[in-house]
């Protein structure tokens, strides 16, 4: 059995150049708790999850629309 059979269709992804706001909107649109962060070649660079939002961003006082992943 392939793991893909258990995955949702159309994985939620955002560019490595995206902001926290874009990632959160993608999670809300897709009703998922994480997005894969991909580089210009489509290669997975990391995951951005609800846990990252809570642990690294929520109480930081930073602007989600102006905060790139690199600083979150």
């Amino acid at each position: 059995m392939s793991l893909l059979e258990w995955c949702d269709e159309g994985p939620a992804t955002v560019s490595v150049l995206a902001t926290v706001e874009e990632a959160v909107n993608k999670m809300l649109d897709k009703d998922v708790g994480a997005v894969a962060v991909i580089d210009e070649q489509g290669v997975v660079a990391g995951m951005f999850t609800e846990r990252d939002v809570l642990a690294k961003f929520a109480l930081s006082g930073r602007d989600a629309a102006a905060t790139p992943f690199g600083s979150s």
């Binding site: 793991l3 258990w6 994985p11 998922v32 070649q41 997975v44």
Partner: protein, 68 residues
Amino acid sequence: MSPMVEMATVETTPAEAFKVMLERHYRHLPVVDDHGKVLGILSIRNILEARIDDLLARLESRSHIHLA
């Protein structure tokens, strides 16, 4: 963002994927191709749903045996 140290491929077995997720406390694991491109994202929710379906099917078959 959390940089990926663990990713699954289509060759990864469900048991291997679950072990990584449990040991590392991951709720999501990307499934990638040979070039690292994302094919899907495995989530704990997906696994739980599949497991519940499996358990319900087993319960169903056991109740049939009992009734017979």
